[in-house]
Symmetry: C2
Subunit: 343 residues, 2 copies
C-alpha cells in the first residue's frame, strides 16, 4: 500500500508526547511542523528528532475535510516551468506560502487553456485555500467566481478581460515604452519588434508600449518590422533571420520577452560567424536573462524580479484569505528598470 | 471562508449528471478530470462545460482519507527551483504525474537539510502517495523507511549513503572523465576544477571523474587548480578570478555544473574586456546552459536532459506504486553526451 490507513491498529502518538520528548511546548511543535517560523534551528532539530523517534505525523488531509477547515494547500498554475522566469516566480510563491505554513500544488499548463481548466478543477476538488494562476488567455469560464466556488484567485503576470480577481502584473506598457525609446533616442529609426502571440496579455501591452514610443516621435509603424507569435527561442531565431534578410534590415530590435531575445541573439551570432562585417543590431530585451552581458551586440534589459512577482502574488492571496476576504479586487503593477548589460 | 464546507446545505451534483449533460460516460468524466489521457480535446471541452454548468467537483481530500485510499499527491522536494535545471526537472515530474492523474506538491529546500525534513514531514502528513527528493545531503534520518512510514521514495540526481531507495542519477563520473579527457587530449596540462561543496553527491562524483582523467595520463593533481564550494555564479566568478591571477594560470577549466560555468565565463569575459590579449581558457561545462555557443572562449558541454531525469524519477515512483511495490530498490544511471557549443 502507498499510504498508511489512519484506522491502522497502532495508536498514533500525540503532539503532547512529541513536545514532552523534545522538551518544548506543543505550540512549538506545531510551529516547527508549519514551517518553523520564529523557531530556532536547534530547537527545530530537537522537535524533528522527537517526531521521527515517535513516528508522529500531522494528518493535513484529515484536518482539511472538517467543514470550514483549511487544506493548507495553494494551487499554482503556470504556463512554462522550463522558463527560468517562471521557475523563479514559483520559488517566490513557495517562499511566502511556506512562511504561512502552506504548501503549493503546482501544475504546468504549457499555454494550453484546456490543461489550465483541468488543473483548476482538480485544485478546487482538493479544496485548495486559494489559486495563483498565470492565465493562458482565451476562454475564461473556469476563472469565474461561480466556477471557482469562491476559492480566492490571484492572477499573476497577466489579467483576463471579464475576470474580477486580485492580480499582480508588471508595468508592461511603461517598460516597453522606455525600452523602445532608448533605441529611438539613440538615433535608430528602423526598430523591429519581436514578441509572443497577440492573444497573450503581456504581448498586447508590450506591443502597445512599442507603438506609443514610435508614435510619440512621429515614426510610422512599419508592418514588415513587426514579428509576433514566437513562443520559443527556435521560432524567434527564424523570425530574426527573416528580419536580417530584409532589403532594408532593422538597425535595432525591441524584444518583448527573454525567449525572443535569446532566439534573436542566436540568429545574429550565427550570421556574424558567417560574415564578421554583418549588421550588429542593438537589442532591448523585456526580461533579463543570464549572460546578457556577454553577447556580441549591445544588450539593454527591461529588468524586473520574477521571484518578487511570485512573493507579491502570494501576499495578495494571504491578505485576502486571512485579513480582508471581502475587500474589492486589488491589482498591483510592479515597476521595471532599464539596465545596460555589461561584463 | 476559504473553502466550501462539504457539509454545505446545497446538494452536490453527481458524476452521472455531469456525464449525462456532456453526453459521455461517467468513466470519460473521470478520465478527463484525472488528466484527460486518451480523451479527445473536444470531448474534454464538453465535460468541462458540464462540470462548470453543474458546479461539480471531485473531492480529492475526502477520497484520500478513507483508509487505503490514495491522496493523488506526489511530494517533490528540490534544492533550487530558481535554477533552470531544476525547473525542467520539476516539469518532467509533473508531466508524468499528470498522465497518472496525480498532482505534485512542490517544495524548495535551498540545500537546507532542516527545511528538507520539514517538507518531508509535512508531505507525509498530507498522505502523499510518494516522494521524489533531490537530497540536500548531510543528515538522512528523515529519509529512512521508518520515518517515511513506508511512503515510497525516489531520490533524484543524488543518492544518500545509508538510504535504500529507488534513484535516478546521471553518469557523473563518466561524464566528468570524458569532459576532462577532451581538454587533456587537446594538449592542456593545467586544467582547473570548479565545483560545488564536497558534501554534495554529484560534486564528489564529478571530482572523481576529473581526478581519474588526470591519473590515467600521469598528470599530478595540482591543489591550487582545484576550487570547490561554489554554489552560485557569484562565488564561482570570484574563484575564477583567483585562478586567472595565479602566477601560472590554468589554460583550461572543467566546471562541474552550470552555476560554476556561468560564473567562470562572466569572470573571463570581464578580464578580456580589460585586456583583449588576456588568456582565453577553454571550458568544459557539466550541464548545458543557454547561449553557451555565444561565449568568447570555446565551450564544450557535458549534456544531459533534466526534464528526462524528472520523467524517469516519476516513472520509477509509479512503477513502485502501481506495479511492483515489493521489488528491491532500483537505481537508474542516465548517460551524458559531450557537445561542442557552436553558433
Amino acid at each position: 500500500m502507498t499510504t498508511t490507513p489512519l484506522s491502522g491498529a497502532a495508536r498514533q502518538p500525540t503532539i503532547k508526547e512529541v513536545a514532552a520528548l523534545a522538551g518544548v511546548s506543543p505550540m512549538t511543535v506545531s510551529r516547527t511542523l508549519a514551517g518553523g517560523k520564529n523557531v530556532r534551528p536547534d530547537v527545530q532539530d530537537r522537535v524533528f528528532e522527537a517526531v521521527h523517534a515517535l513516528g508522529y505525523h500531522r494528518n493535513e488531509n484529515a484536518r482539511s475535510i472538517r467543514p470550514g477547515q483549511a487544506s493548507g494547500l495553494v494551487g499554482v498554475a503556470i504556463t512554462n516551468l522550463g522558463n527560468p522566469y517562471y521557475g523563479n516566480f514559483a520559488l517566490g510563491v513557495e517562499e511566502i506560502a511556506f512562511q504561512f505554513g502552506r504548501r503549493i500544488v503546482l501544475g504546468n499548463t504549457g499555454e494550453d487553456v484546456v490543461r489550465e481548466r483541468q488543473l483548476i478543477a482538480d485544485f478546487i476538488g482538493r479544496q485548495v485555500e486559494g489559486l495563483i494562476v498565470v492565465p493562458s488567455g482565451g476562454d475564461d469560464a473556469h476563472l469565474q467566481r461561480e466556477s471557482l466556488r469562491d476559492t480566492p484567485l490571484v492572477l499573476a503576470s497577466r489579467t483576463v478581460p471579464g475576470v474580477t480577481a486580485d492580480a499582480v502584473v508588471l508595468d508592461d506598457i511603461g517598460g516597453a515604452y522606455r525600452g523602445t525609446s532608448t533605441l529611438l533616442d539613440a538615433g535608430h529609426t528602423r526598430v523591429a519588434y519581436l514578441g509572443n502571440v497577440t492573444s497573450v496579455f503581456t504581448g498586447q501591452r508590450r506591443f502597445e508600449g512599442y507603438q506609443r514610443a514610435l508614435a510619440d516621435r512621429g515614426i510610422p509603424l512599419d508592418p514588415e518590422l513587426v514579428r509576433r507569435g514566437q513562443q520559443d527561442a527556435e521560432t524567434a531565431s527564424a523570425a530574426m533571420r527573416a528580419l536580417l534578410d530584409l532589403a532594408e534590415p532593422p538597425t535595432a530590435i525591441f524584444s518583448a520577452n527573454n525567449r525572443n531575445s535569446i532566439g534573436a541573439l542566436q540568429a545574429i551570432a550565427a550570421r556574424l560567424r558567417q560574415d564578421p562585417d554583418a549588421m550588429r543590431p542593438s537589442i532591448v530585451s523585456f526580461d533579463d536573462f543570464e549572460l546578457a552581458e556577454l553577447m556580441p551586440v549591445p544588450v539593454t534589459v527591461v529588468d524586473h524580479d520574477p521571484r518578487e512577482l511570485g512573493r507579491q502574488a502570494a501576499h495578495l492571496l494571504f491578505t485576502r484569505l486571512l485579513e480582508t476576504p471581502d475587500a474589492p479586487a486589488h491589482e498591483i503593477e510592479m515597476p521595471t528598470q532599464l539596465r545596460v548589460a555589461r561584463a
